[in-house]
Symmetry: C2
Subunit: 324 residues, 2 copies
């Protein structure tokens, strides 16, 4: 058996995780690096980070590298040749690099290549469905300026709009006002403006205010619940609309910080999706996205067996356990 | 009679206009410069632009300068001493400089110092009311991330959300999709994402898409009309809420590009405001903001008479006429 490595990489906006596997599925090594979003970090930085991680893994294992699958947050479909060639001007070869969206490798981590739909809801939100012909269908992911229902950013923004309505006397009072003053460090409601538009204010920081909207919804506050319900219904509508295009899709995976941290968000989403698509089988992810990237490579090579999966999962868990 | 000049300046985000008047109201000179928003351009640049405009006017007229009123888009209330002192470290003295918001000088241009409310609706939106005690009350002006109902930015954004809903099959078809592809230069709906988040995309450019929402509303398109109606109702609610605090306020002035370019927007706003505040007397502005800044100075010195106003207006019109 060849000992050439397969590498799976979860390339996020701020950090990335790369794992190498032997052809039997056993995890050989793991390394981490900065973000791989080339819109934010630039193509050259991303290429050098990629090359460096691949080299590290290859050196650690004392093996050559066969193929690398990267799930990139800057993509929403498999990369075309032009995009691939941007990252293969250095040491990697065109036929070594398989660039996918971060949503796709997360999806592979729970459907193992079978048809399915993943609903990702973190700082932003996005849906990706794989149909039985292997075609990808995307919805959402329009970014913070244009919506992304259910995302941390949108929940935070709508929480602040409720605060503004309360301040201006055209909406009900809400405990989110006190939360916002404290969170953003403002003395008065209008003082929020300077904080939110300050040069150092980031989208991620603003989105983090969503935790107060989630907490108030969990407490039963009507204003916060209304915001969360409206958003989860909108996200479930998008999911149901995708499923209409591929009725064979049963599995729906929920992923990302909003679902992970809010049972209320999950409950609102599930209730609406079951109303619109009663057959949807809502699951959690079994394999993290970096393993999803590996699963994609194993499946592509028709090497994905239960033995491979079992070995991959158990050795990865051992690996993480030893590290902690 | 002293021949010392009074100067009124409309200090916008991208350009500014300064006019000098003799104590009888006659316009003596005019000059223009770059923007005076110190959040965007920095304090030093703004101070140098201010000083340069004042020097130009003083030299043109061969007169000393008595006092200067600036309406600054970076303020939403009269400047405190700390802010004033930022702009008087050079040639201007503390007691020469009267810094107000741009909304305030626009308000002075139509109420002439009487109680009134101005509703400004351009790229952003904001409301400012002057009560009979001379106190200023502000609403809106929370900026593009947090709403600004009726503003170009918000109309554009909600137009794009309608486009997204149509594309994802959870909203009605809309001609705004074709408008958006053409306006943003995208081949496909998802191609809009790269355009809108491109480093060169500005808030003002995005807001400019509002012209298509306004045009479609004018044509009678239901999707566009719904967006415009909802926004104008929200803006009118804010206006009515302010008037409740000062029932003596009769005059309501409408100002800014949305009202100037859309009869439909104006009609929707007026209808809702008359429903909520039947006594509101909706007016247009008689004097541009730079004259509003002068009117503020004349009123402060108890020198504002009908003669002054008549002379100011006629000489300013002559001045502009000669220039064109």
């Amino acid at each position: 058996m060849s000992r050439k490595l397969l590498i799976g990489i979860d390339g996020g906006g701020t950090h990335s995780t790369a794992v190498a596997a032997y052809p039997d599925g056993r995890i050989a090594a793991l390394t981490k690096s900065g973000g791989l979003n080339f819109h934010n970090s630039g193509v050259k930085t991303v290429r050098l980070r990629l090359e460096s991680m691949v080299k590290t893994l290859s050196t650690q294992c004392g093996c050559e590298v066969d193929e690398i699958c990267v799930g990139m947050s800057a993509l929403d479909s498999p990369a075309d040749e032009d995009t691939r060639s941007l990252f293969t001007t250095g040491t990697l070869r065109q036929n070594q690099l398989d660039l996918q969206s971060d949503a796709y490798i997360a999806l592979m981590g729970f459907t193992l290549g079978e048809p399915g739909l993943i609903v990702i809801c973190g700082t932003g939100s996005m849906l990706l469905m794989l149909d039985k012909e292997g075609r990808q269908h995307v919805a959402g992911g329009w970014g913070y300026l244009l919506g992304d229902p259910g995302s941390g950013y949108t929940l935070a923004r709508e929480g602040l709009l409720a605060v503004i309505n309360a301040v201006e006397g055209i909406g009900p009072d809400t405990p989110l006002l006190a939360d916002a003053l404290l969170f953003f460090g403002a003395d008065t409601p209008r003082g929020l403006i300077d904080r939110i538009y300050a040069p150092e204010a980031t989208t991620a920081w603003l989105a983090d205010f969503a935790k107060h909207v989630l907490a108030r919804a969990h407490e039963g506050n009507a204003v916060a619940q209304k915001i969360l319900l409206r958003n989860m219904q909108r996200l479930a509508q998008s999911a149901a609309q995708l499923i209409k295009k591929a009725p064979e899709v049963g599995k729906v995976g929920l992923y990302g910080g909003i679902f992970a941290h809010s049972d209320t968000a999950t409950e609102f989403f599930v209730k609406e999706l079951h109303r619109l698509a009663p057959k949807a089988d809502i699951c959690t992810l079994n394999y993290p996205p970096e393993l999803g990237a590996l699963i994609h490579l194993f499946q592509k090579r028709k090497m994905l067996t239960n033995e491979v999966l079992t070995l991959m999962k158990s050795t990865y868990e051992e690996y993480l356990h030893e590290r902690n």
